[in-house]
């Protein structure tokens, strides 16, 4: 996952999830295209100051072309210029809500889940899932190399050979790793029945308070502008 700008402390993981959910849910209610763009722009400014500028740029490098394609499609389907701009805006908002969660540190999220009293199996299962992804990539590479050593080209192998030489060994390896990991966790006293503890708890910082305040101001402003019918 992507990180926040260097020398900046990331926001609280649970706060980021809440901002992300509220951003998109609030976006659902905005009907005016100008208001939608003002809302997105003000959020981008707020979170750029909080150290998310690089992540915003990275996400928008993907989201803007994608939104433009879908917006063009909406235009061709007869939505008009306003409709296609609205589509682009909504996809941009979807992208922005992703920025907030894409920057969350997996370990931080697992720690904060334990801290708020989430069950042990949840944080443990989540951590194993995240940490296992690179391990799985290595295993796939190892099996492909073993195939090549035996003179089989993984790219040109037929269905039968792929099944026998790649799929089955990979699944067997996964089962073995899972058994070893389970025994290893049990011998270290991990259990799904006991409550987990955290060595370094995460706290709601001053920066979190400022961002929350700015975020609430943005939300209230949108409601106010829509209510008085400025646009």
């Amino acid at each position: 996952m992507w990180s926040v700008d260097s020398n900046k402390i990331p926001l609280h993981p649970l706060g980021n999830i809440i901002y992300s959910i509220v951003t998109l849910s609030w976006g659902l209610l905005i009907r005016d295209v100008r208001l939608l763009y003002i809302f997105i722009f003000s959020l981008v400014i707020l979170f750029s100051f909080a150290g998310y500028f690089k992540a915003v740029i990275k996400v928008y490098r993907i989201v803007i072309p994608l939104g433009a394609v879908v917006g063009l499609l909406a235009f061709l389907l007869g939505d008009g210029l306003i409709g296609s701009l609205m589509t682009l805006g909504r996809i941009s908002l979807l992208g922005f809500s992703s920025v907030l969660v894409v920057t969350i540190d997996a370990t931080g999220l697992a720690r904060s889940l334990t801290q708020v009293g989430a069950p042990r199996w949840l944080s443990l299962g989540f951590l194993i899932t995240v940490r296992f992804i690179p391990v799985l990539k290595e295993e796939i590479q190892r099996i492909r190399e073993a195939m090549m050593v035996r003179g089989v080209n993984p790219k040109k192998a037929g269905l039968q050979i792929t099944y026998r030489a790649f799929v089955l060994p990979l699944i067997i390896r996964l089962i073995k790793i899972s058994d070893t990991l389970a025994v290893s966790l049990e011998t270290r006293g991990f259990s799904t029945e006991v409550k987990g503890t955290i060595y370094r708890p995460l706290h709601w910082s001053v920066k979190d308070c400022f961002v929350s305040f700015g975020f609430i101001i943005c939300i209230i402003s949108v409601v106010f502008i829509q209510w008085i019918g400025l646009f």
């Binding site: 959910i21 979807l94 199996w121 899932t129 992804i133 799929v167 996964l174 089962i175 790793i177 799904t192």
Partner: protein
């Protein structure tokens, strides 16, 4: 659930996540609603079936969906909600019809139903983001039926293949069923 069950289900969830990372970007630019569920459906079916063949406990399917969803939550909470809802509904349906995963038919239905159930939420999001034109496209019965049917077929074929693999591994003594 024991720690061994959680570990295995989490590993299966990691595999499911990787399959999603590989297949979904290939179809990301295709403006057909629900195509992102269709592309990985076959592989999801296989993995879900293998997971359920080993951990035959109520809640297994939901846990795979939850762990996969938690990783996807780090990209968008919409994907998390989508996976969680699909996993929950599939699990409830299996619970209502079979009461447990003791029979292979329950594994087949559970693993096969998961992916088609992710389509309705995807369509709702596409309708919201895509505007009136996209809403017309989504309400076209040919589009909905085509995507649902394609995803369903691929997912159930995958579940069937997964059960076959599971049986073979069980016969070889590698896959020990945890009940």
């Amino acid at each position: 659930m024991k720690i061994g069950d959680i570990v295995f289900l989490a590993i299966i969830a990691a595999c499911v996540t990787i399959i999603g990372f590989v297949t979904v970007p290939l179809v990301l630019a295709i403006p057909i609603p629900g195509i992102r569920s269709l592309a990985p459906a076959f592989f999801y079916g296989i993995l879900m079936a293998i997971g359920l063949m080993k951990v035959r406990k109520i809640g297994s399917l939901f846990l795979i969906a939850l762990f996969n969803g938690l990783v996807l939550l780090m990209m968008s909470w919409v994907m998390f909600a989508n996976n969680l809802l699909a996993g929950l509904i599939a699990e409830l349906l299996v619970l209502l019809i079979f009461k447990s995963y003791d029979v292979e038919r329950a594994v087949f239905i559970g693993a096969g139903l998961y992916m088609p159930l992710t389509i309705p939420v995807s369509l709702l999001i596409t309708a919201w983001a895509g505007g009136a034109g996209m809403q017309r496209l989504i309400t076209d019965p040919f589009v909905i039926c085509g995507v649902l049917l394609g995803t369903g077929i691929l997912s159930f074929v995958g579940a069937f293949v997964g059960i076959k693999i599971g049986r073979e591994l069980k016969k070889a003594g590698v896959l020990k069923v945890q009940v």
